[in-house]
Symmetry: C2
Subunit: 336 residues, 2 copies
């Protein structure tokens, strides 16, 4: 049994884009699992935009992470030692481990993952939190229907790439924006009807108009800012905006201003709704079942960017905030 | 029978706040009612913020008014002559007459008004379009429930003053902002728990916090702009924003910018929804029945500001856009 753990803690509150000095790698002793506990070895760690919010000294939907505290995050791991009746050594489990090599757990909040169903990393992506976020956003929030026109910002990210694929499964016209030619190429491979690189596009509004010539019924927003400003006037009557993320705003040192567009909600009778996947906890089993069917039928592809080594988690996280990832950004902490 | 009509037409497209030279009073011959037609004499004309949008050369939810065309608007009148089987001389009717002293009609879109129920002017206000707007906004859009905290911008206007009274009938904490001490006084008489004059208030956010110490579950927005910027961060979890109007924006020559606040919709899982009373056409009879009960029970007061004379309709309209009215702004065109 291992006797030492490695953890990444919050060393300083970032200003703007986090830097590696905002994190600290610490080693600590790892006790044996007591009665009722299990010891899990982390296989993959998920790094996600919401963590940027948790690094702020400001309450949001979750409490802020304290200085010196373990960085929070979802992970998938293998049970090394179990003194818990519900788990056996060798089980694959997913849960909020935080950024560490091992976790001692009493089993709460753990979900068993079937490694025969799909690679275990998908339990953090297409068949995990980000895939479910896309699912509930498209179906329960936006109530997307066949034949509608869907536009997705941040379309090559972990959530956006799944939202777009779900749009195609539903029979929609799907278009989106992403931050590189490589990402645009991926979106076309995933079946998007049109996609563009916003970094090389001066006139978002015109490009969106050509991507969605019938207007937009559903806008799945991961980005906010100037992209959203360009989308809102192109929403169709009774359009829905599912607000999933606002990544363009998370690293700003000074809040941005932008044009006021709320009157469009009256003219077009728009519904704008923000959501978190946690609100749909009771619906997760049903959703995962559907997503697994689509995955097995090859209608849903798992796009992943994998960085090796727990010590490189800060770099993977910082890169993800800057859009370096394609699909789900993961950190491989150990091999199965 | 009268032989001459008087009408107010759009003479020029306003820049910023309309001026009297943007309107023209014209006289025209008034033919007798032909078979199947009826002649209506206008009693009261309604002037409303939405008309500012119709004066723009830009499609919105309705086509723009052409230069030289009759100004559109709801009115209530008395049937002077009828050659239509559904109406008799003396009937009181409400409909989209436009800004004119008489209207020839084939009966479409007319609603008969019972003058025994309430003063006929209420058919344009509390028991008409603006009252119904408040009703559907509070109940069908915001889904306001007993015990919730409601905040209303433009609270002393035709819609806001009714929305607030409905909030009190539902058993809510109700607060709002308006543009004069006199209006604030009225709001308190109408039962608002708190109200303030935004024109003498430097720190909207602090004043709203003291008016709604439990936060805000329902924001009924008639105003937009800096008021809405101050309200959004104070919304409670699963709050709803019914977007009814954005009067602070209608007369701007240059569009405004403001802080971006869409991330609050994620953190608080807010729903923002724009609406128009016309979307609820099928529900109007049920809603009017309920509103009439509340009116007869003295739980709903009709607040009106009346300007005399069709020729003064432009002045009444311009004053209303600047907030000179309290409650519903009407123009008395003739006496019953």
């Amino acid at each position: 049994m291992p006797t030492m753990n490695r953890q990444i803690t919050l060393a300083a509150r970032p200003k703007g884009i986090p830097s590696s000095t905002d994190f600290r790698l610490v080693e600590s002793e790892l006790p044996d699992a007591k009665q009722g506990h299990l010891l899990i070895r982390t296989l993959f760690l998920s790094v996600d935009p919401y963590m940027r919010g948790r690094m702020r000294d400001q309450a949001s939907y979750a409490a802020p992470v304290g200085l010196g505290d373990l960085m929070p995050g979802g992970a998938v791991g293998v049970v090394e030692q179990s003194r818990h009746p519900g788990f056996a050594a060798g089980d694959i489990v997913e849960g909020m481990f935080g950024w560490q090599a091992y976790m001692l757990s009493q089993g709460e909040g753990l979900r068993k993952v079937d490694p025969a169903l799909a690679p275990v990393s998908t339990a953090l992506g297409v068949l995990g939190m980000t895939g479910l976020t896309a699912y509930f956003g498209m179906l329960d929030i936006a109530k997307t229907e066949a034949g509608e026109s869907v536009y997705i910002s941040g379309a090559a990210g972990a959530v956006g790439s799944v939202a777009g694929q779900i749009g195609k499964i539903l029979g929609c016209h799907v278009a989106g924006s992403a931050g590189s030619e490589e990402k645009v190429q991926l979106l076309k491979e995933l079946g998007f009807d049109d996609a563009f690189n916003y970094k090389s596009e001066k006139d978002y509004a015109a490009r969106i108009r050509s991507a969605c010539p019938q207007g937009i019924d559903v806008y799945f927003d991961n980005v906010g800012g100037t992209m959203t400003d360009a989308v809102v006037p192109q929403m169709n009557l009774r359009g829905r905006i599912a607000v999933c993320g606002q990544i363009s705003q998370y690293n700003l040192e000074q809040p941005e201003t932008g044009p006021r567009w709320l009157f469009h909600t009256i003219v077009k009778r728009l519904r704008i709704e923000g959501f978190l996947v946690f609100d749909f906890a009771a619906e997760i089993p049903r959703a995962l079942e559907q997503m697994a069917v689509w995955y097995r039928e090859d209608r849903l592809r798992a796009e992943e960017t994998i960085t090796d080594g727990l010590e490189n988690a800060p770099e993977a996280f910082i890169g993800m905030l800057q859009g370096n990832n394609i699909g789900k950004q993961l950190v491989r902490v150990s091999e199965l």
